[in-house]
């Protein structure tokens, strides 16, 4: 044991780097949305550990962290990897409320997941304040080129039409993963970090309650949804 900070993924890294670099660290809430089985958990695992393995369907939600260093700031991504299953949909607003970045993930080899991503977008748009959330359309499973059902052009068209950003990735091969995270980081920092109070600063303490007491509870809600 000894150093508790190791418990938080990315936390240890944060410590080392913030000591050597006098840059401010901001918290970024990022949520992964999309149908069941499109690879949200695999993307999240790539983001935080750069690993791939077969995962079982997520129950409820998983919370992971990853620190990204930019030139002028450090961003601590707090990633909410939601379950794609329908029975958990009623709790999903807890996770995308107040998110700075939302990744709408679909599987390029399954058209229905692309359609589902558009439903998620509609739902997001009824909740978010324009300019407060960076929404990124992510076509995952780029390694399944031979059974592709959604062309990259279609993805790009949808993104252009709705004013989203778009990337195709492969969590299996790791292609475009770190680029995606870095792009999201830049975008979030430019669009939201520039605003006054757009991002809250990460207080370096081993206790989570210290910083979420200072800011609003990211899970706080004003309306009740089941279950």
């Amino acid at each position: 044991m000894g150093d508790d900070h190791q418990q938080v993924p990315g936390g240890a890294q944060l410590h080392r780097n913030t000591l050597s670099r006098p840059v401010r660290t901001f918290r970024v809430k990022m949520v992964l949305l999309g149908s069941s089985g499109v690879g949200k958990s695999s993307l999240a695992l790539r983001f935080v550990k750069d690993e791939f393995r077969n995962t079982s369907p997520t129950v409820g939600c998983a919370y992971l962290t990853r620190v990204v260093h930019l030139n002028h700031a450090t961003l601590r991504f707090e990633i909410w990897d939601t379950a794609g299953q329908e029975k958990y949909h009623s709790v999903t607003p807890l996770y995308y409320r107040g998110a700075h970045a939302a990744l709408l993930v679909y599987d390029i080899s399954k058209r229905e997941t692309f359609i589902r991503a558009q439903v998620w977008l509609k739902e997001l748009q009824t909740h978010y304040i324009p300019g407060s959330t960076v929404i990124w359309l992510v076509g995952n499973k780029g390694d399944l080129e031979e059974v592709r059902q959604v062309s990259a052009q279609e993805g790009q068209n949808l993104a252009d039409e709705k004013g989203l950003l778009f990337t195709e990735t492969s969590a299996l091969s790791g292609e475009q993963i770190s680029e995606l995270l870095l792009d999201v980081a830049h975008r979030v920092y430019e669009c939201i970090g520039a605003q006054q109070g757009g991002l809250s600063e990460w207080q370096e303490t081993p206790f989570v309650h210290m910083h979420h007491r200072n800011t609003s509870n990211p899970l706080a809600s004003c309306c009740k949804v089941g279950p």
Partner: protein, 520 residues
Amino acid sequence: MDGGPQKPAVGWENGMLAPVDRLRTERADSPVPGLVEGTEPGAGQQSAMFVHAQSFEDLTAEAEEDVEREAELDESGEPSEDLKVLVGEETIEKQHNDDIPPERGTKEEDVSSEAWRSHRKHVFVLSEAGKPIYTRYGTEEALSSTMGVMMALVSFVEAEKNIIRSIHADGCKVVFLAKSPLVLVGVSRTCQSDKELLRELQYIYYQIVSLLTLTQLNHIFQHKQNYDLRRLLAGSEYLTDNLLHRLDRDPGLLLSAVTCLPLASSARDVVSASLQAAKAKNLVFSILLAGDRLVTLVRKKDQFLHHIDLHLVFNLVGSSSSSREGEGWTPICLPKFNTAGFFHAHISYLEPASELCLILVSTDREDFFNMSDCKQRFLERLSKRSAYQAMKEALKCPSYSVEQVGIPELRHFLYKSKSSGLYTSPEFPAIYQSDEEQERMMGLYQDLHSHLHHPTRPLRSFYRCSETENLLAWVTSGFELYLCFSPLGTKALAHSAVNKLLKWIRKEEDRLFILSPLTY
């Protein structure tokens, strides 16, 4: 540990092992263990951790009650007891009891194939409208007509104001459990009794309820009788699959008990106290697991966790990989606690590669950061003591070998302390290492178990010889014991082994059981 067996051997030599009713001696004075509930080895000191669970009777009792109630409704109806219908044409024509069919089938199986038919145990779940909800093997779509027939059978008997309980046909048992709005059907070629099969169906029912709550289930089917529940269960079938696998393999589910990580009581007490200190307003249960073994459980005062609910939590944690890297946060209904609402479980591993998993159960769905904070405080506290190291050491040998007991010819045993709801068991010896052998062994235990818990003629003890092993089962008001000896053992040897084993368990109980459960 204040209540350990300090004073040995009062009456031990007298061989007072016959059940003595109402003999309520102090634990310390009673090294002749536990013929009376609460004094047996492994009995908790202060209070039980779980909802008081005599045995699996309370699990099947509900189903029985339903049946009885329904039966009472119609005086003129045939007695539903021993309803045996022969449906030779309906079920599988040929028996292959000797074949060992592939245990884990795939969903793509052809349901008309012989391989599909020869699975040892099928489980089907359907709605009252006859819509398929779950099948263990094959796909639900392919089985819609089969499930239609099942529902027709249920409705046909119901129309006569009666209830179909089982069909026995040519070595095959078909067991029905109607738990509105669901109907569960088990088809088994094993020698398990109806009651055992019913118990397993009950578990499956609770698994589904734990994902959705009964309130939601009722609500859905009241509004749309024809609803396809697979939509809501999509992505969770593996939980049911895994639970069925556990039912075949895990003695805890058979005994309605859980087993503990062997750990020095001093270390366990520190871990428990650290968990106790890391409390929060809405925290109801803190559970620390090492794989499938309980390290400790701290609960809110006056709130009890039922062993079924705990097994559902075990199944959830054991089946999902997503909390490995980060922290999981999921709604879960604990049906034995409350079928109407969700709790919210914070699931995380103490270290990424560790077996130690902490589950914090809160009543508030927005409590994630509070739970996360509780975990940090627990770790903080724990790291200051040596208990964490002791626990990690204990993880290296999460079980013990039967040789340590020192009883010749003894190969394996299961011992359950009734009052604490905990059991202990050594690891399977080398000859039972294969999956087939372990499942065969579990089958033997299940058979003993069903004799001891027979609905009308329960046995207190049972000795059975076979070519491959000799078995002894014994139940008192304090414990249940199942012993497996080599075929060279004798009955006299088996009986004398009981004394010796109980004495050994008494000596080791500090390590093998949780004797002083804590509350917030």
